[in-house]
Symmetry: C2
Subunit: 393 residues, 2 copies
Amino acid sequence: MTSPLPPLVTPPSRILMGPGPSDVDPRVLAALCAPTVGHLDPYFLKIMDELQGMLRQVFRTQNRLTLAVSGTGSAGMETCVANLIEPGDKMVVGVNGVFGGRMADVAARCGAEVIKIERPFGEVFDPAEIEAAMKTHRPKVVGLVNAETSTGAYQPMPEIAKIVHAQGGLIVMDCVTSLAGMPVEIDGWDIDAAYSGTQKCLSCPPGLAPVTFGDRAVAALDARKTKVQSWYLDLQMVKEYWGGSRAYHHTAPINMNYALHAALRCVLEEGLEQRWARHAKLHQVLRAGLEALGLSYVVAEPYRLPMLNSVRIPDGIDDAKVRSLLLQEFGLEIGGGLGPMKGKVWRIGLMGAACTPKNVVTCVSALEYALRKNGNNVTPGAGPAAVTAALLA
Amino acid sequence: MTSPLPPLVTPPSRILMGPGPSDVDPRVLAALCAPTVGHLDPYFLKIMDELQGMLRQVFRTQNRLTLAVSGTGSAGMETCVANLIEPGDKMVVGVNGVFGGRMADVAARCGAEVIKIERPFGEVFDPAEIEAAMKTHRPKVVGLVNAETSTGAYQPMPEIAKIVHAQGGLIVMDCVTSLAGMPVEIDGWDIDAAYSGTQKCLSCPPGLAPVTFGDRAVAALDARKTKVQSWYLDLQMVKEYWGGSRAYHHTAPINMNYALHAALRCVLEEGLEQRWARHAKLHQVLRAGLEALGLSYVVAEPYRLPMLNSVRIPDGIDDAKVRSLLLQEFGLEIGGGLGPMKGKVWRIGLMGAACTPKNVVTCVSALEYALRKNGNNVTPGAGPAAVTAALLA
């Protein structure tokens, strides 16, 4: 049974400009490896309370039921859907990318009668479409993706939330990619339940999923006639550990919660509005550089996410070859396309600690190099010059 | 919306001798905070391959489907049950503690027709009881807890596995607490599916759940007529990411996987048999000390877990007061009782990096102090003397 031991973990240094994970602040890594304590240690209970307080600030909510689920962003999605849906409930899901499609799949597995409304990848939904679906189907829950990580499209929410509530529905929002990188206003937009992930604009390693539930959603949990189908994600038990009797449910991922604590502290120390502004500004800088390289955006301008830039791969350029070159020669990760966009787009992230002038400069120069090396006829220096001009603007 | 920032994460230094998490080796913490890379980075794919290889060695199996689920031990339990059970399937679950009870709850939520066979907390099942249940109910799956963390009882498995297979059933085993601290032989015992956690004898922070599925279990997955009810835990998709097409499923908890890699390396560097022997030896040393303090074991001798020592709290001693004193004055965490054992027993862990002569000495001396401070009439020095004698034996 004995084999030679693999070498120690010694990862290469990367610039993470894909769709997540993003670069992690050294302060977050330092917290991650702080000494492990027990999950009922008074010190850890204090960390949990502080985490909840900071999550509420970042989500812009007063929701008491705000906590970090012990799994990645998709576990946050499943937590929201599985807790709100009982078998036979109707759920309308907006599918305009991979994550809307995933939500529909999760809802069907939870026993929902799923009504998909669809838009091509890269587009977003109009409030009138949601209103029509509400009137036709009278669903219990509507699920929408605020920031489609697979396409880079931004779905405005406030008007839709009003429509859903006017028809007696609940609205669940995926803000995995938007949270802490652009305005997300849980209370201001009147969102009933939302989930995110730690590895995007929070710039924490992947492993936890912040979720928040408002009063209407909590009332729906309390009114359930059946048990939540997932024991692990059942918020009626999880919330007792986070804020109620402290009854043991599962052993919390102690060190990951330390890291999230540190990451939220970094966000609030910078200031949420300042952080949004940094992402907005550097998105324009990156955009100038990418367009000067001849790359065009997939999403129409008013609906572009600042932190996820989907651009079309020029004709004749091999997706995998370019990304591999960027990784090998620059340590730079950018993302490929998902689903129907596979091989056709690059997804360039500008998330949290990775959203810096330094990274934008590197990315645009490295792309120029990779495009030229692969025979693309890009004007030498145009990309970097456009970046400098946009930084000076 | 602005509140003062909470202080930085600065956890106290603890000796973790509860039911988990256990002490973490500094090499594991160092790996945990290594630079985050992408979940499709060639470096991370190599780490995953190495992790699977080391997990197979620790589980003592050749099972191809062996990986770390992105959640804690209870997510591992739910993975095993949700993937094997389809609505209406029969599952026999042995309930002789909290975790057997949890498995029955999980199975019912998965739509199983659950048949509980019960034993008082602290006892274990006889093969004849399983045989009787098999013949009466003909279940698809039998679930048993190899090491009941709530009671400290050890359930022998090989004979039961033969019985289950003779009747055409599958056997699922909880080895959360036993793995890497005492013999666990997935192939030798012919176990179909098993799950563990990282925070017990693997001495890694909590956050991942190693699971392994053998040929019969994989055939059952392939024969499913319905989708697994949990999207997040659906092994047909998860396994493609770990060992198949590398298709993106969810973003793996990169740094936690680094930590598990380092923890498995520590286990294999020590040697699995040597590690089992260390736990067995120090269990006897701790036992000598605890008995000299007048503390008696809950579980009958042949079924005691070396790494989880459940002892009765003496009459007149306040559980919470003693545990709080140990934590405050010695930084020592031991566990309280769960379920019907709450307030009646202490659960003293000897897991992985926490299983050292130094910790046993500290624990027994600290308990002597705490008992005497709370008016218990223990003979001064008897506990530590017994520890020394047992170490010399």
